[in-house]
């Protein structure tokens, strides 16, 4: 029965997300337009390149990669930093702190509802469209399973990073600034705007050493490889697992230290 309260929160999150039908609708349209732009842009880029394969990626590889990265982004972006920042500023956070569960699990399970709705409304349709349009460019096999596992780890890493960044809002009023910085850094260094394969050498190495590439690059590279080497799978998932634990540890520690600040110095 211990799980009931968490599942209940997730259910409420789903119900809440479904209330904003217009939002979902606009989101779908927005994604669609974005997909169109990405499609034409990269078609033009590849047309200018003169070769079919650049940095080991064909046009359809790049397209699938970017489209799915956007879809992943749309489904993982739960505006946690905004939510936290605003509730810290208005003091509404006290009401959540007075619930008989930790803030971390409270917001995780509440957001999980939104993530589930987003999965069905943005990621799955996009995935199916891409699957149909590219006609078999996405291998359908055991890689889907690795991908699923990898995405779950991505969600966890993304949540920890968001919580970490959101905690910073206890020290500053600048939600906007903090959020935009996070978004920019994550989107660029995770390979969501340009696949990491295109990065020039030193930058690529740096990106691979940071946790962000585990969010988008890791699951997508697992998905796009038909018969990956077991060692590659182990390495990718292992890396994600390590990052998931490390980011969780850091965000939890930072939150606890900062919470003490609230309880000592007021909100």
């Amino acid at each position: 029965m211990k799980w009931k309260k968490y599942l209940s929160l997730t259910r409420a999150g789903i119900l809440e997300a479904l209330q904003y039908r217009l939002g979902l609708f606009v989101m779908v349209i927005g994604n669609l337009i974005y997909l169109i732009i990405v499609y034409f842009l990269w078609r033009a880029i590849y047309a200018s390149a003169g070769t079919d394969v650049v940095n080991g990626m064909t046009f359809s590889d790049t397209l699938i990669y970017l489209v799915l990265a956007t879809a992943l982004f749309a489904f993982m972006e739960m505006y946690i930093v905004w939510e936290m920042g605003r509730s810290i500023q208005t003091g509404a956070i006290t009401l959540t702190l007075l619930k008989p569960m930790s803030y971390r699990s409270y917001s995780f399970w509440n957001c999980a509802g939104g993530v589930i709705v987003q999965f069905f409304c943005t990621f799955l349709p996009t995935f199916l469209v891409v699957l149909l349009v590219t006609k078999g460019a996405i291998p359908l096999g055991i890689n889907l399973l690795y991908f699923a596992v990898s995405v779950i780890l991505s969600v966890s890493i993304n949540f920890s990073i968001d919580l970490f960044v959101g905690t910073i809002c206890m020290y500053t009023e600048s939600i906007w600034g903090i959020n935009i910085m996070k978004q920019v850094v994550v989107l660029l260094l995770s390979g969501a705007t340009i696949p990491l394969a295109f990065f020039p050498e030193p930058l690529k190495t740096i990106a691979y050493c940071l946790p962000f590439q585990s969010i988008y690059n890791a699951p997508l590279s697992l998905l796009l490889t038909a018969n990956p080497q077991p060692s590659v799978i182990a390495e990718t998932l292992g890396m994600q697992l390590v990052w998931s634990i490390v980011t969780m540890g850091f965000s939890r520690l930072f939150w606890q230290v900062s919470l003490r600040r609230i309880t000592v110095n007021g909100g």
Binding site: I37, L41, I45, S48, I178, F198
Partner: protein, 266 residues
């Protein structure tokens, strides 16, 4: 309600000073927002750079030409960022009923509402944009005559007006739709796509981005006048007029929404 420009200018300066004062009191916010803005710009620049490390050109547009478009769109967006930033809070104000406080002032409602906030961090963006523009300008070996500069300024202004029109219309949707945040967010996402040349799209989408969602007027059509003076399409020459028309329309929509607004009260 016709008063001299001088009156409005004077009022604007006073309200602006108040806004700056309150901004300063959020010490770190000020600095962090500025850094955040710079980060956004650097990342945009980096994306370009990485892209052109791998590819020589995009749809017949060279690196520096693309940079020019990018810088142009950044500068064109600055006035909207700086002057019309209060559009972002319109939704909350209307929803909570606070908006009613603006309706009792003896001056233009749109002006008064927008004058309340001046977003300083937009200036950082402008500096970055101008830098990019000059960098591209020099590498493209464009002439620096008074005529060129005049063209640049006129077309920057018209690009700004288009941007402002899009934002106004999206923000004003909150007078009719409860959750208009998504619309505003969507429109703002488009501005990122404005920096791409329209030639990469097929005719259908070129039509859409010109006449339905006129993002082509934010950077592409105005830049053509400077970048490709030998073959300027009619739409480029018309873009200042179109910009004024669009802005006027959005202003009317905004004011109509505000006029129909009755405080929700509880």
């Amino acid at each position: 309600m016709h008063r001299g420009l001088r009156f409005y200018f004077c009022i604007y300066r006073k309200i602006l000073a108040q806004d700056l004062k309150s901004k300063m009191s959020y010490r770190a916010d000020f600095i962090i927002s500025t850094i955040g803005m710079i980060c956004t710009n650097i990342s945009g620049f980096l994306s370009f750079w990485i892209l052109f490390q791998n590819f020589p050109s995009v749809g017949g547009w060279s690196y520096y030409e693309m940079l020019f478009l990018y810088g142009f769109s950044l500068v064109a967006m600055t006035p909207v960022q700086c002057l019309l930033d209060n559009n972002w809070s319109l939704r909350y104000q209307v929803f909570s009923g606070d908006f009613v406080k603006y309706c009792f002032r003896p001056m233009n409602l749109f002006f008064y509402y927008q004058s309340e906030v001046f977003d300083v961090k937009g200036l950082g963006q402008m500096v970055f944009g101008i830098g990019t523009l000059i960098y591209a300008w020099v590498h493209l070996e464009l002439a620096c005559t008074a005529w060129m500069v005049l063209k640049l300024v006129v077309y920057l202004v018209s690009a700004s007006l288009v941007m402002a029109a899009l934002q106004n219309a999206a923000a004003a949707s909150c007078f009719w739709i409860e959750n208009s945040f998504y619309l505003l967010d969507l429109v703002m996402r488009f501005k990122d796509y404005a920096k791409y040349p329209m030639t990469i799209f097929n005719p259908v989408f070129r039509f859409v981005f010109t006449f339905v969602l006129p993002i082509a007027f934010i950077a592409y059509y105005p830049s053509l006048v400077i970048l490709r003076p030998e073959a300027v399409p009619l739409l480029s020459w018309l873009s200042p007029l179109i910009a004024i028309l669009l802005f006027y329309l959005s202003y009317k929509i905004w004011m109509k929404g505000a006029a129909g607004y009755s405080g929700t009260g509880s």
